[in-house]
Symmetry: C2
Subunit: 247 residues, 2 copies
């Protein structure tokens, strides 16, 4: 059994979380089996019950454990933790999970005024400009999605300067390295058909059905930091989400 290090700068509850996560992922704790009780964890790891409970409560929120009053704490089935995030916010990670090589082509990177819809989403005045990135996302080299991203200028000036890096990487990773941290993402989408330009870039026929996605992301304070318009052909890509319902 691993021990927690008090000399470690990481908090004890966090270290305990990592130990439990590791045991779950390694298969030492099978789904629906009980983990040690709270008093047992207190004794095993020499921490207070409050510290144990902080670790367990967060793991419950993250969907790795569930509690039953009077019975114990149990391991959840491994259904794709935080799939929502990896799916819609880090397209590249999701593809890697599926064994596909993520990539992309940066078609246009420019500074524009933006349409009214874009300015509204990013809460910009008519004078302010936006960074506009137009991309085709690929998996194993094959085009799978058409995507246009808008970011507020000059806040995202460094993303504009390093736009080429988004072609084969994730825009969200680039944004994070520039201090732009998505916290909430609002998606709206509907069934739609490909425009002629999209069909040409995705090598499909115009009018083919797919998903039209609009997404605005906000930082922790609710300030909009990015807006995306995208088209996913139905024949190429299954979106897959896991939504955790709060009781």
């Amino acid at each position: 059994m691993p021990t927690l290090e008090r000399s470690n700068p990481l908090p004890l509850y966090y270290q305990l979380k990592e130990v439990l996560k590791q045991q779950i992922n390694a298969g030492h704790l099978a789904p629906h089996t009980a983990i040690p009780s709270e008093p047992e964890l207190v004794a095993q790891y020499h921490v207070s019950r409050a510290t144990v409970r902080q670790a367990l409560t967060e793991l419950v929120h993250e969907g790795l454990l569930y509690r039953q009053h009077g019975r114990g704490t149990f391991v959840c089935e491994p259904r794709v933790q935080q799939h929502i995030v990896s799916e819609l916010n880090s397209f590249t990670e999701e593809l890697r999970k599926r064994g596909l090589q993520p990539g992309g082509v940066l078609i246009v990177s420019e500074l524009v005024r933006g349409t009214q819809a874009v300015r509204e989403q990013l809460r910009l005045t008519d004078e302010e400009q936006v960074v506009r990135l137009e991309r085709v996302r690929t998996a194993d080299g094959a085009p799978i999605a058409y995507e246009v991203n808008y970011l507020p200028y000059p806040r995202a000036v460094s993303v504009y300067q390093r736009a080429r890096e988004t072609a084969d990487g994730s825009l969200y990773h680039l944004m994070a390295s520039e201090g732009l941290h998505p916290y909430i993402a609002e998606h709206s989408f509907k069934g739609d058909v490909a425009s002629e330009r999209e069909a040409e870039l995705l090598r499909i026929t115009a009018g083919e059905s797919g998903i039209r996605l609009l997404c605005t992301t906000f930082d922790e304070t609710g300030a909009p930091i990015e807006y995306t318009e995208a088209f996913y052909p139905g024949s190429r890509y299954d979106l897959r989400l896991t939504l955790r319902v709060t009781k």
Copy 2:
């Protein structure tokens, strides 16, 4: 300032949550303004700091507050709390929010063996049966979605017996009243076109584009309790999700 009742069977941290929620929703606490500090709340409500922190931590998880180390705790902007849930799991509530009258027509309610896909999702053997509900969902009387729900039999026998109630109400509400509580929902969807049967029921033309949705819901223990196949015409319905990204 409201006070917390120690004679109230509801926990103190829960009462405090409700008080703060009410103040936020009533507009007494504007977005991005700081709420009282933790020591202040301790003094105001005569509870320990741990109790205050439990209330605040849950409100942060629910997206009503955000914390900044060394600065304070602030009110989030009111972006559709738990929109994921209301949108995809309680269709009727979502429509009401939009000022539309939700309704539906129960076309078929039957006990069948189910296709292989259905039995796999619900983890049933070849012998076990499923409850199959075929519905058209409506808003202000106009058809907006075609939906087929499958539930394990005999666990969901009471849903089968009361199937008519799902026509104008929510299946999830009926399930809840029968002890079936969705905890996780897995959705997959893609752009697709309407079949002839769907087109007829939805009064659109066959081949019109829309979203094909597959959804499996699980209870707290990870046991599958419901499986849905649905089609939303693109011309009738914008799905709208709010995803909260965990840091």
